[in-house]
Each structure stands twice: as C-alpha cells, then as structure tokens.
C-alpha cells in the first residue's frame, strides 16, 4: 500500500499526511483551509455531542433527544471533507505496484497517466451520480420541491448530508484532474 504520489516519499500512512502543507494557489489555499476547518469543527462537535449523550444518559438519567440525527449528519461532512483533503494530499490508499516495481521510463509514465485518467473518469461519473443524489434530496422525489425527505425528530433536510457526498466527490475530482494534468505533462514532455 502506498499513496499514489509520484514526487514525494509519501506512503499514505497517517504520518505523511500534512494537511496544511502550504497550498500554492489561492483556490487551494481557500479550499484546503476551509475543508480543514470543517473537519476540525466536525471532529470537535462529534466528540462533544456523543460525550454529552453519554453524560445525559448516566448522570442526568435523561436523553439527548434525537442527537443521532445530528452526529450522523456531521459525520458525513467529516468523512467527505477529509477525503477531499486526502485527494489534495495524494494520500488515498492505493496498492501502488507500478510505482514500486516498474523501472522509470516511458512505460511507467504511461501507466501513471493511464491510472490518473481512469481515476478522474470514474470519479467524474460518481460526481454526476452524487449530483443526482443531491438533487433528489433538494427537490424531493417529484422534483418539485414538495415532500423533501427530512429526518424524523429534528426535521433536518436530508440534502444537507447528500451535499457533503457531492461536494466531497467534486473536490476529489478536481484534485484528480490536477494529477492527470501533471502526469500528461510529464508524458508529453518526455515523449517529444
């Protein structure tokens, strides 16, 4: 297993994840800092809400009414925003046998390009599915904004959670596109 990083020695292990490693352009700076802030807030919120639920049950002998609806929603934002930064950092898990065993040369560059092409293509397909999924929640099953699916207790619209899936996949696709452009550049430069 290793991270699919061509340029560094990152191995997709927790130690090599450097979330705040100075994004170079303004878009990445805003995106990565924003995503990091969401992840941090979500982690803290999950910790506090779950501890509060345990506290209410054992100490106050009460019930933190419908807390599960909130923690599940927050958890999805944590998962997908974390995954988006993972794509930025190239720390998604991969069994990277090409990187390890194919000697440097045209074949390796081509395989890396092919890998990035497949990664982006498949991710874009699921971004589309993610969009449809979000729109299903946002406009309701009839597509008219009526009967929007909501949670039972707090009446939280489900699209809030679906949006995290769509946004997370979109950011992942964006960073996979960056990887593809880089590998295409490497492939073409060496070929000419």
């Amino acid at each position: 297993m290793s991270g699919h990083n061509d340029e560094s020695t990152c191995t997709a292990l927790p130690e090599c994840i450097i979330p705040l490693n100075a994004p170079k352009n303004w878009f990445d700076r805003i995106a990565v800092n924003g995503l990091s802030l969401i992840c941090f807030s979500a982690s803290i919120a999950l910790t506090l809400i779950i501890c509060a639920a345990a506290f209410f049950r054992y100490i106050v002998k009460g019930d933190l009414y419908g807390y599960e609806e909130w923690v599940k929603l927050i958890a999805f934002w944590l998962y997908f925003m974390g995954a988006a930064i993972g794509a930025y950092n190239r720390t998604h898990v991969s069994a990277d046998l090409v990187q390890a065993y194919v000697p440097p040369g045209y074949l390796k560059r081509f395989l890396v390009f092919l890998k990035d092409l497949i990664t982006l293509g498949v991710c874009l397909l699921f971004v589309w599915y993610g969009y449809e999924f979000f729109m299903f929640g946002f406009t309701g099953p009839l597509g008219t904004g009526i009967a929007i699916p909501k949670s039972t207790i707090w009446r939280i619209s489900f699209w809030v959670g679906y949006l995290s899936v769509f946004l997370g996949l979109s950011f992942m696709a964006y960073y996979f596109l960056r990887d593809l452009l880089q590998s295409t550049g490497r492939l073409l430069r060496r070929a000419t």
Binding site: M1, S2, H4, T11, L13, P14, E15, I17, I18, P19, L20, C39, F40, A42, S43, L46, T47, L48, I50, C51, A53, A54, E68, V71, K72, F76, L78, Y79, F80, M81, G82, A83, A84, I85, N89, H92, V93, S94, A95, D96, L97, V98, A100, V112, L114, I118, T119, V122, C123, L125, F126, Y129, G130, E132, F133, F136, G161, V165, G168, M172
Partner: protein, 438 residues
C-alpha cells in the same frame, strides 16, 4: 460480467488507482453491463444505498479512535505509558523488546490501528533500542510485528468495520481476538528473546532490588497515572458495559486532549488543530473506501459472486476445513497486496456468506481475519507496517527481512493455525461474556 468486473478491479488496483476509485470502477462496469441479461443496474439506487449503509453511529468510533491515537502520540501520553511498562520488564535480558511489545498492546488498544501504534511507540522506542545496542533490523522488525497487536487487542478500526459489514456484534468481534492477542504477545516476546539469546552487544541493566523496583513503580506510576486512565476509560467503559464503542472513543478524545495540553504539555493549540485535521483526513480516506465498497458489494451480491466463489471452492474440495485453509491463503495473498482495512472491506461481503454456508461461526471468522490481516501487513510486496517501521528506525529493509521472517514463521503462522483449527480459543470469551453460540 462479474469476472470482467473483478478483472477491472484487479487491473485498477495493480496500476495504482486509489482503492475507493478502483471499487467505483468495478461498480461502474456492473452499472452499465451487469445483470442477468447485461442490461445493467439502476445507478440512481447506488449512492443512496451506500449512504444508508454508512449512516451508522458505530462507524463514528473509527473517526474518534483515530483522533484519540493522534492526540496520544503528539500529547506525549504514549511516552508516559511506555515508561511505566518499562518498570516491569526493562531490567530483564531482551527486556526492552518486551517493553516494546507490551507498550504496543496498550497503545494499540487505544489507537486501534497498526500504523498509528507504530508511529507512537516507535518514535519513543527506536532511540532506546539504539542506545541499548539492539540490532537495527531486529528492533524495526519487532516493532513492526508488535504494532499489529493493535489489530488484535480491541478496540480497533478493522474489527469495527468487519462487524459493520458482516452484521455481527462489535463487542463479540472484539472479544474474539483478545485471547489470540495475548497469545501473540507471549509469542512475540519469546521469539525476541530467542533471537537475542546469543547477542552479546545489547545492554542489560543491572538487576533492580525490590526497594528500587518499588521506588521506580511509585515514581513512574505517579507520572503515568493520567495516561493510564485512558485505557481504563476505553477498555473499562466498553467491557464494563457502561459505554458503547462510539461513546468510549469520544470519551478518549475528550480526556486525551486536556491531558496532552495541560498535564504532559505535548500539545498546544496549533498542533492540536493539526492532529485533529490529520486524523480527519485518515478517517475520510477510510470512509470513502467503505462507501465505495458498500456500493460494490451490493452489486457483487446481486451478481451472486459469493455463490460463484463457493462453487469454485467446492470444485477443489468439499471439506470445509480445506476450504477454510484456501480462504486463509486467499486472505494472505490479498494482505500481501493491500492494507488491512482494504482487505476487510473487499473480502468480508464476499466471503461472509461462504463462511456461514460452510457452517463456521462468523465470530470465529472475525478472529481469523484479525490474525490474517496482521500477517498480511508485514508480508511484502505491500507491507505498509514493515516499511514504516524501517523508515522510523532507519533500518534497511534487507536487515529487517531475516528477523521478520522468524517472527512470521514462529509467531504469526502458528497463531493463525491455532486460531483456524481451534475455534474455541476465539469463541471462549464471546460465549462466556455475551452468550454467543459456540
């Protein structure tokens, strides 16, 4: 179509497509060309299915245990725990190895992941190993092997995922690996002692008198007390039936942050933010993998992949034990190519129906998966824990391979054989504590 879907998956994995995207690629093929007549499946049902599967409070425990592990490492909580363990074994010949093994078990029981355990214990133990003249390769191999105790001494992320996918009780799966975990601790210590029995270069501390031991125990115990409360909260909370796994993980984070900030002072506001975000990234990477595999496994089951595999196994042998050995071999090969969590998320939905069909207890299989994925993590070519240990300990991989091979041959393979052939070892605790059937 299912074979092409599998081929696409294998091809994508080999060329280095990220694991979750490889799962999505295989799923995409089935969406377009799957089904009895090749008419495909409705894509609109797939993401909602994955969402519904992931919409679980118990999965949040993974995120919070990862955070607790990160906080423990940066907050110097692990360091105090190791100092305390050193009181009991540090003065023995090859005692530092025993300290490392037991520390990995204690830290692993909180971190719940091998790499986090290794980086936490390794950063503290490698300088000590060097100071006491341990061979670099042996020290790195020992820590790589010992860090896998995090997969056996619960709670851990791999078993939470296994329980979630297979629909088993998380606590029963945890309990199934406790006895194999303790047996592995003993075997690792014995193999370490055996490998060092003729080594004259390692430093052996002067024998401590009883008074010295008591004084050391008192001194380090006082320092380690806040750190020792952490395993007490997690393990006591879960096994005492007071807290659910998710609540225990949240309590661990809530306790570890102030201890790291104000007691041991390893944390400050800046690195607290960093460690929480780093943990969130690790969590995100794992969870997207789970999301994609939950979609893929649904399609595989619609295509009856477990039935096809079972037919292949039956064609080779109709003896359940032989089939179980083949399944283990399959898991070992998968473990050689992927990390532990990827192996569990990919194989569990496919193999679990086969395990049930063959008449094996799913909780017994949980213990087999725990030991087997541990073995896979230190078996090249993809041996993430081994490589990480080499990097942390500055040990060349060729120096690590020989001692690592001894650990595999004398510890992991016998342990796997025992767990496979004697189900009562893993089923004993779940049966007596939770009343699960033999």
């Amino acid at each position: 179509m299912i074979f092409l879907a599998l081929l696409i998956l294998i091809f994508c994995l080999i060329i280095g497509v990220p694991v979750p995207v490889s799962f999505m690629a295989s799923a995409a093929w089935l969406i377009f060309f799957g089904g009895p007549a090749g008419e495909g499946y409705a894509a609109s049902q797939l993401l909602p299915y994955g969402y519904a599967q992931m919409n679980s409070v118990s999965l949040i425990a993974i995120a919070l245990f990862i955070t607790a592990g990160g906080v423990m490492e940066r907050g110097k909580i692990g360091e105090k725990l190791i100092d305390f363990v050193d009181v009991f074994a540090g003065h023995l010949r090859s005692g530092l190895g025993i300290v490392a093994v037991i520390s990995c078990a204690v830290v692993g029981s909180i971190c719940g992941a091998a790499c986090a355990t290794l980086s936490c214990v390794g950063s503290i133990m490698f300088p000590r190993f060097e100071k006491e003249g341990y061979p670099r390769g042996l020290a790195a191999a020992l820590l790589a092997n010992a860090s896998l105790l995090g997969l056996l001494i619960p709670p851990n992320a791999t078993l939470i995922i296994f329980a979630w996918i297979s629909g088993q009780s998380v606590l029963a799966c945890f309990l199934a690996t406790v006895i194999p975990g303790f047996m592995t601790i003993i075997l690792l210590c014995l193999v370490n002692w055996w490998l060092l029995r003729k080594n004259t270069t390692i430093f052996v501390a002067a024998k401590r008198t009883t008074a010295q031991k008591v004084e050391l125990f008192r001194k380090r115990g006082r320092l380690a007390l806040p750190a020792l409360m952490l395993p007490f909260i997690v393990l006591g909370g879960i096994y005492g039936g007071i807290l659910t796994t998710t609540e225990a993980s949240a309590m661990a984070v809530l306790y570890a942050i102030p201890v790291g900030l104000f007691v041991y002072k390893g944390l400050n506001l800046k690195n607290s933010y960093e460690v929480i975000v780093e943990s969130a990234i690790t969590t995100g990477v794992i969870m997207v993998m789970l999301y994609s595999v939950s979609m893929l496994s649904r399609l595989y089951i619609l295509e009856d992949l477990p039935g096809v595999l079972l037919a292949v196994f039956y064609a080779l042998s109709d003896n359940p034990v032989i089939i179980m050995l083949m399944i283990n071999l399959f898991l070992v090969v998968m473990g050689m190519l992927m990390d532990d969590i990827s192996v569990v998320v990919l194989t569990t939905p496919i193999l679990m129906p086969i395990i049930v069909e063959l008449g094996f207890n799913p909780i017994h299989y949980a213990a087999i998966v725990g030991v087997n994925t541990g073995l896979g993590c230190i078996t090249p070519p993809a041996a993430p824990v081994l490589y990480l240990s080499g990097r942390l300990g500055n040990a060349p991989i060729d120096e690590m391979m020989r001692p690592c091979l001894w650990f595999v041959l004398l510890c992991w393979i016998p342990m796997l054989a025992v767990v496979v052939l004697f189900p009562k070892i893993s089923l004993f605790l779940p049966h007596y504590i939770m009343g699960t059937p033999w």
